[in-house]
Symmetry: C2
Subunit: 437 residues, 2 copies
């Protein structure tokens, strides 16, 4: 058992209770939240006197396989960035390099307070990547990326039949292999996919009860390609082929018309908002305030490290709030709403809103603690303001996933940080040599 004592518990429960008290974890569940819980015999304890305690943050759109390329693909627009940098780099992965990339990503995300992710892997080496994920102990949804539309897949092109065959094998091997690993279907985006594989994705979704994770309407040129090919805007096309439902997780959704907003609402499909990435790739600013006021489901992610260049959910929550204000006014998207997006919103995107995203008895024990003693934070009384506007991921001290203390006092308990960083550098150097040759 694990007892977190004397914290400021920012529960994110239905009544948004903020309590000064204790939280008790048994096995993988939160079993008690109250003042002065007596320490059970043999329980480990964490003193959270100067800490916020909150549900682990959920990033609903990341690419573990891209993290090695951070800083190697700056200052490019989306389609050039993909074709000239990201796809050639993904193409040059080996099993070792993709493992190094995944390890570095998960290390960073756990240290910065992320407990659950929805990932899009690359076309190849998915098995190796998932082995890294399994070792790490992060709560994971994700899978192999589909790119079977030859003219828009570059070196990552793969035949539809091969993709489907490997996908079924991966699902059978990996989906719910343990408490933490969940397979997700990942057609990259309409531009890189045949209609056949998109429709097959829907069939696999039904057959295995899986999330479909894709990108849409990130960039105006991308939308134009989809219109040219299908006669429809991006979200309208996904609706036409029955790909919108509450297990659809769609990154970006910046360029939606009113009809598409209503399609997203009626289908309960999830928007995966990535504010830093949307700025850095010059994609635009998604109108999140409008989406939320329309009842759309919104969660948050850092996207790939090369388009951010961090995997810090605190940066994304802060930007998520700040970017709406010049568009909709200073009252738009307050700090509490941004934290909702980073917790409850993510839980909804994963279909886990009854088990994740809040500190409540009976919920899964994904919990983080944040030091509130930095001079940037110390005097702030409103916890939402402190967490969203003033804290950094660097202030996270403990990260608990499924009841297990993965980061203890800023030190990762599963990974040896030094060796993960060194092997990432080594694999990066080898990859650069492979690309140059």
């Amino acid at each position: 058992m694990l007892l977190i004592k004397n914290g400021t518990l920012v529960t994110m429960n239905k009544s948004f209770d903020v309590l000064k008290g204790d939280l008790l974890i048994k096995d993988n569940k939160i079993i008690q939240i109250s003042k002065n819980i007596p320490t059970p015999e043999g329980a480990k304890t964490i003193d959270a006197s100067n800490q916020f305690v909150l549900p682990g943050l959920i990033q609903s759109h990341v690419h573990l396989c891209q993290t090695l390329y951070r800083g190697f693909a700056d200052d490019l627009p989306l389609l050039d960035w993909l074709k000239n940098k990201i796809w050639p780099m993904e193409h040059n992965h080996t099993e070792n390099s993709i493992k190094a990339s995944a390890d570095l990503s998960i290390l960073e995300m756990n240290l910065l307070g992320t407990t659950s992710i929805l990932d899009m892997a690359s076309v190849r080496n998915t098995h190796a990547l998932l082995e890294s994920v399994e070792k790490s102990g992060i709560r994971y949804w994700g899978g192999k990326c589909f790119m079977d539309y030859k003219d828009y897949s570059g070196p990552l092109y793969e035949k539809t039949s091969e993709t489907l065959k490997e996908t079924e094998e991966l699902i059978k091997y990996w989906h719910k292999k343990n408490d933490l690993i969940n397979y997700a279907l990942c057609p990259r985006f309409v531009v890189s996919c045949t209609e056949e594989i998109l429709i097959e994705s829907r069939e696999l979704q039904k057959q295995y009860d899986l999330i479909i994770h894709t990108h849409a309407s990130e960039n105006k040129d991308e939308v134009d390609i989809v219109i040219k090919r299908t006669g429809l805007r991006n979200i309208s096309y996904l609706d036409k082929i029955n790909l919108l439902n509450k297990q659809s997780a769609i990154a970006h959704c910046i360029h939606l018309d009113e009809h598409e907003i209503s399609l997203m609402k009626n289908s309960q499909a999830n928007i995966l908002h990535c504010p830093s990435s949307n700025l850095k790739l010059a994609s635009g600013i998604a109108k999140i305030e409008q989406y939320i006021n329309n009842g759309l489901r919104v969660s948050i992610g850092a996207d790939g490290a090369p388009c951010n260049n961090n995997l810090d959910p605190f940066m994304e929550m802060r930007l998520c709030a700040l970017l709406q204000k010049p568009i909709f006014g200073s009252e738009a998207l307050c700090a509490q709403k941004a934290l909702e997006i980073g917790t409850l919103g993510g839980a909804m995107a994963l279909g886990m809103e009854n088990q994740l995203g809040q500190l409540s008895e009976g919920f899964l024990a994904d919990v983080i603690t944040i030091d509130r003693s930095h001079p940037s934070v110390y005097t702030v009384q409103n916890p939402y303001s402190a967490i969203v506007y003033s804290c950094s991921g660097r202030d996270v001290t403990n990260t608990i996933i499924n009841g297990k203390l993965v980061v203890k006092n800023k030190s990762h308990q599963v990974f040896d940080e030094e060796s993960v960083k060194q092997s990432a550098k080594l694999e990066l150097d080898k990859m650069i040599r492979r690309i140059e040759n």
Copy 2:
């Protein structure tokens, strides 16, 4: 003497050299930069093997007097924020509370890599604030705020003659009292100032060779008030009364027309860009890429803590770059340019471009070191990308101002961090009680 060894020196000099090597400080100057400098007898050394070494960051627009109100004035537009929150709070300062506010601000800024600031104090208690500044050892420009236009100054209104009288006393006592303290004239903004005091500011500027530090064109309603009162847009009006020159430091400048951009260019007046604050107060996004391409002088600042809510120059540099991209394309405002704005741009705003803002022999020894071992940073090869896009202010390890080690291995050497934070909280509590009574 102080020798920084084996760092990655990001010099920001004229040829933008990045060197692996050593940097030697004697008294308050950088006296040598090269590989393998032998340790002079009695010199202190800093091992910067895994660190970036760069010129201290310069924030050209801050309000030390506002830091206690962080988190107490969220989600409001500029004019409401000022009238309903900031002015009543500034009005309720005592000498003790303004000192506590200044101490907390300087502690935070030094820890996060800021070595020079251009500050705007409040209307009252300036002497007390400057006493705190003097003790701290930060490199400072700033002074008493002018608010003599009765209908737009709230409780901070002061008669023109009184303002001018106190200002001359403050200049005589404080300006160049030591190497680090420089007085600056601070008419708050046209809205709160009579034409008389603006013109008198120009006279005092000439007489004492001072920077004039003000706000302009932050908010559309503010611009409308200026047009209504003067018949001119904000910058055009400042030009008409001869307030634009290279010692003019003008915060925000978001809403400028083409004529005003040319006025800023021809006068060499300095734009003090505050991207987080401009988002949070819903003011807008200044077109920095256009300004730079037109040859305008741009520097950066966090503005007041209640409209940010951090005083972290790394956040501002990252946002400065990212926000331009959706407007001007992904190539706009690259990382190197953002770091220029945070160093050389600030030095220009202070008239110190021949002494500050770069690591060069003979320059003043304002230097910071940044740990590059965080998993978010470790594998990034391009130093500008690493510093601007991936580092956090939390990664700063050492801060040297005027040759003196102010922050050593993340620990402040002048302030006792705990007592600064506790006295800030105490003074904040007292202030809240004063406001409520």
